[in-house]
Symmetry: none
Subunit: 204 residues, 4 copies
Amino acid sequence: MQLSSRPSVPPTDLSSRILAAAQRLFARQGFEKTTTRQLAEAAGIAEGTLFRHFENKKAILVAVVTQGWSELLTDLLTQLSEMGSYRAVAQLMRDRMLTLHKQSDLMRVCFMEAQFHPDLRDRIQSEIINKMTSVVEAFIQTGVERGTYRDLNPKVVARVFLGMFMIAGFSQDTLMDEQPSPAFQKEMAETLADIFLNGILVQS
Amino acid sequence: MQLSSRPSVPPTDLSSRILAAAQRLFARQGFEKTTTRQLAEAAGIAEGTLFRHFENKKAILVAVVTQGWSELLTDLLTQLSEMGSYRAVAQLMRDRMLTLHKQSDLMRVCFMEAQFHPDLRDRIQSEIINKMTSVVEAFIQTGVERGTYRDLNPKVVARVFLGMFMIAGFSQDTLMDEQPSPAFQKEMAETLADIFLNGILVQS
Amino acid sequence: MQLSSRPSVPPTDLSSRILAAAQRLFARQGFEKTTTRQLAEAAGIAEGTLFRHFENKKAILVAVVTQGWSELLTDLLTQLSEMGSYRAVAQLMRDRMLTLHKQSDLMRVCFMEAQFHPDLRDRIQSEIINKMTSVVEAFIQTGVERGTYRDLNPKVVARVFLGMFMIAGFSQDTLMDEQPSPAFQKEMAETLADIFLNGILVQS
Amino acid sequence: MQLSSRPSVPPTDLSSRILAAAQRLFARQGFEKTTTRQLAEAAGIAEGTLFRHFENKKAILVAVVTQGWSELLTDLLTQLSEMGSYRAVAQLMRDRMLTLHKQSDLMRVCFMEAQFHPDLRDRIQSEIINKMTSVVEAFIQTGVERGTYRDLNPKVVARVFLGMFMIAGFSQDTLMDEQPSPAFQKEMAETLADIFLNGILVQS
DNA sequence: GATGAATGAGTATTCATTCAT
DNA sequence: CATGAATGAATACTCATTCAT
């Protein structure tokens, strides 16, 4: 997996067209319900052409997911590394959550399909989640050592942090209101960050 | 949907046998990948019999999900209403999250399939999520009014609270470690509740 | 494999209808070129029904061949065992060759497909050819011991004998004249039997 | 078809490379199961190039078969014409059968595919088989007239003679023992020639 | 001439649903 | 009511052939 690749992919090359179409369709309909015919049509190519670029349908899923997470991880790492104040994590979460919403396609694909495709899940886990978790963990650890964060298990906190991303990017669209207003989304993101930092209890 | 029904369903009646089998299979393999033949076999009946009890395969999905959330909601409402201290919410979360793990089958089915079946999602939302949210919202509201909780938007906090359930019950199994140890699960549940109440920042 | 089964199969049961259609089509067009759609149409059933009776297309081929040889072998054994005079082998050959013509469908299927389907070939060989060869071999052996046949290696003679069957039933239709006249066929059968018994050389 | 052409084809010219690859692949896998991609790969050229040299896949089959029989026929004619003694036909058969084994690739291709490609069969028949048959027929005829061979229908004997070739070159590999030992092959060839000349009956 | 990416009709197989028993 | 054989539309994937480079 290449973490540094990407925004340069020309949208005219077929593989990219296929992946773009696949991301949209998989997210909208799920992997199983997306037919290769639809995929080809959406990419503006013939059905057979799909199989010149990817060995089979599942390989398209793997590519979509791998590429997507790759981008996500790159962005997160960049932002974390540039973040001066350890209190600014709220800012980061807010930003991330709002942009994550745009990538909720990807989140959905992952959550939906990872479960039924062990090899896909293994890739996501070993190549991505673990990397993200350990980066965030190190970040939290530093915050704890500096006395900014409470003395909680950094590994666990990292998971909660990442889990919150998913709430934001994923469950909103899925089970909550059809189309939450931008204002509500903003408040949601800010409250989530606030709770993450301060909790809901009044400080005694 | 009946919220108060349920523990009286005899496991020998065919509809229940079908639903039990379906919940397991849908969670394990997803709705699309579960064939009616498997369903029938798992329920110990003939394939055609399925269609005497449910109009079509999708009706089985709807029934599984509705029934499951119904139980979940009933339990949550009971516990909330019986809860004296508003600080004890941590206790509740811990309990819920640990038991939720057992019901992760249901969570999975919901998260996976709700998206692709708008009518299912609508039912879940209008009949369940909204009810849960408003109950939790009222609970939070009271906590805020009593000065136990900070003055945050109760509706938003309620969503965060419910969202955290899902982290616990769902994403763990799906994307995190293959089989998180009970000890880790317990720590995860407690830390999540702790962060929800206190945040990660050191109290200044 | 059952050697003694057969002429009692009711032509109304679907498996038999499928096999009958398959024998004709495989012989006419080959296994690869026969589509399951054609197969179903010829058997007067739906395409999906094929797969309720046979696991896959190849299983139909195996069944056709096995069944066919089974019948052929049964007949041959019966005739050989009932044959009084060891000179009468000519009579047998003539009869067999003429009826074989009707079963040339089967011969073709076997010769064509056996080669590309090792497991099929193995079955034919171990269950049928070897049985036929050893029966004929024993017959020849007896002829040699009685002084009726020359002292040639019975195993080799048996193979030649069986090979001659194939010339008769198979290569005629395939490479020789489109439709050899019955008269020519009869002469061919008789000459083949004659040469087998007496050779072409004038007795010195 | 050119009977006198050929062994001068340089193996570097593309058409020949294609034919060589095709003969091997068709014999090994059959015509239908050999893909043009395999063909191109085996010939070391691009897939599209095939279609600059042959109009379509079937034309390659026709060329392979025509060329092969052409060589076979040339050899047979040469040997027959050089044969002094009419008793020496046994020698010829033995030789032919042993070398035929090497060309069993060709035999297989012919037997397999001729049947399903009427135009191919017509070519083989009119241009080759008929020529071979009539040459052999004339040869037998002469033997009969000289009193060496019994007074059998020369046309029929010629067919039996050619049919025996096929037993030898073809059916052995296909349905008989996996890999008959050279010794067994030799005995087979000799016995076949012996039976052809003398029959199996003890001369009374 | 050679290439190989693109094509799309065609394939075997699956599976929700029906219906005669 | 329960059954399970029959159905046939729908699916992922293959491959001979074309054509712009």
